[in-house]
Amino acid sequence: MNAIEVEGLGKSYGSFTMSEMSFSVPRGYITGLIGPNGAGKSTLIKTIMGMVVPDKGEVSVFGRSVGPQEGDYKQDIGYISDENIFYDYLTLEQMKRIVAPFYPRWDEELYRRYMDQFELPSRKKIKDCSKGMKMKYSIALAMSHHPSLLIMDEPTAGLDPVFRRELLDLLAEYILEEEHTILFSTHLTTDLDRVADYVTFINRGRLVFSDTKDDILESYLIVKGGKDLLDGDIRNELLGIRESDLGFEGLSSDRKRAQQLFGDKALYEQPTLEDIMYFTAKGGKPRA
């Protein structure tokens, strides 16, 4: 069973439209949700968490339907927001006393261990904590009720490199448990290079791809060559092209096809997730 199933999801507000999005988050793995700012990552996560009501489509978590009239499915979710959603005039201890009773599996000992590990002072008011402390606190609260699914919205944005690495180690440790799943939205793709098993890429409210990281990296290819290699048909074969006086650099989603087209007249490079995101967002063409 997949941890999350998204089927034909659609949502419009203002100038933003999310259209017919369908994908799944496999159980037992780390899935990275990537896309440029405004792509719809937060809207998607908020929909899963019941904060945004979709115009159409279905979302389910561990087979249970998601929506404003559902609440129980969130027992299995540890949610970490990119912003502080807690009552900032309360202390960390007071906030914990509000959250803990909602979860029958709350583990006070585990919570204390995280508070010690992250060096968080229980009596400090949330508003007086730094961004990093608030994020650590959010992680401590989310992990202390033994969730099967961690949903994290841009958790590493604004964090120092030391804690970012610590957080990734923590996620790697959490995922060791077979039943655990992580959905992790970010635009810092280097984090996903380290830990993600699957990558879901959305751009302008549309799904570009959702696949294993290894398959994605194996199928995409960066081609570099002189401008004389480019004509109308070739341009259409590439997802995005960056041209300069010296030549061009383009991304192909079909490694074999690109090598057939350019042969030994071009140079080839393995793209990173950031390259794929950059060229796709720039070119704006979804993968077939």
Binding site: M49, P68, E70, G71, K74, S81, N84, Y87
Partner: protein
């Protein structure tokens, strides 16, 4: 712990920081300082407590937090009504205690104006019935203006209702009501409960569709 209890407990914890403000207000507007403690105290203290209690998690991030809890949205709304009623009864109890204390000190006897207390209770339940759907509809920014408008309504409305009940024109209807105390009490109670139920259904239908 049942989730409804957790939500009510949360509201009580959030309003706890205003405790001193409420107690100071209650003392200043009681018979210890004022010549007549009824109007200002009964008129404004329950309204103040309700607005503080309901508004304690009105900010959008806090609304988002509530929705991430393993609770249905309709439960969140229901708990707000339950907390509001608890705040209302508690604040009226504070008014009664202060009233009794000042009467004991000033006159050596206890006088509780039961119709006035019941009138305050019913008018405040109607206030909750009106306020909560507007609170869910307008969100945090709208609620700031709503609070000012509602405090004015409480002040003006309370004076107007008191004046109306004291006027000669009301003598006959009030006389009829007091001679049919059971029937009029049942009618009033039914109308109040109906107002609360309708208000709750409107609030749920607004909050269910709201993007946070």
């Amino acid at each position: 712990m049942p989730r409804m209890i957790c939500l009510i407990r949360k509201d009580i914890m959030l309003v706890y920081r205003y405790m001193w403000l409420v107690l100071i207000y209650a003392f200043v507007f009681s018979g210890f300082i004022q010549s007549n403690n009824s109007t200002l105290l009964y008129g404004l203290l329950p309204g103040l407590v309700l607005i503080l209690g309901i508004g304690s998690d009105a900010r959008l991030p806090n609304q988002q937090f509530l929705v991430t809890l393993p609770v249905k949205r309709s439960y969140l709304v229901l708990s707000k009504y339950a907390s509001s009623l608890i705040f209302l009864v508690s604040s009226i109890a504070i008014c009664i205690i202060l009233n009794v204390a000042t009467d004991m000190i000033d006159f050596g006897t206890v006088r509780i104006d039961l119709p006035f207390v019941l009138g305050t209770l019913i008018s405040m339940i109607l206030f909750i019935s009106l306020y909560l759907p507007l609170y869910y509809w307008l969100g945090v920014r709208g609620t700031q203006f709503l609070n000012i408008a509602m405090m004015l309504i409480i002040m003006v409305g309370n004076g107007a209702v008191t004046a109306l009940l004291s006027s000669d024109d009301m003598a006959a209807p009030l006389g009829w009501l007091s001679s049919h105390a059971l029937a009029s009490g049942a009618l009033l109670a039914s109308a109040t409960v109906l107002a609360l139920v309708i208000s709750y259904l409107i609030s749920v239908s607004i909050f269910r569709k709201k993007d946070l």
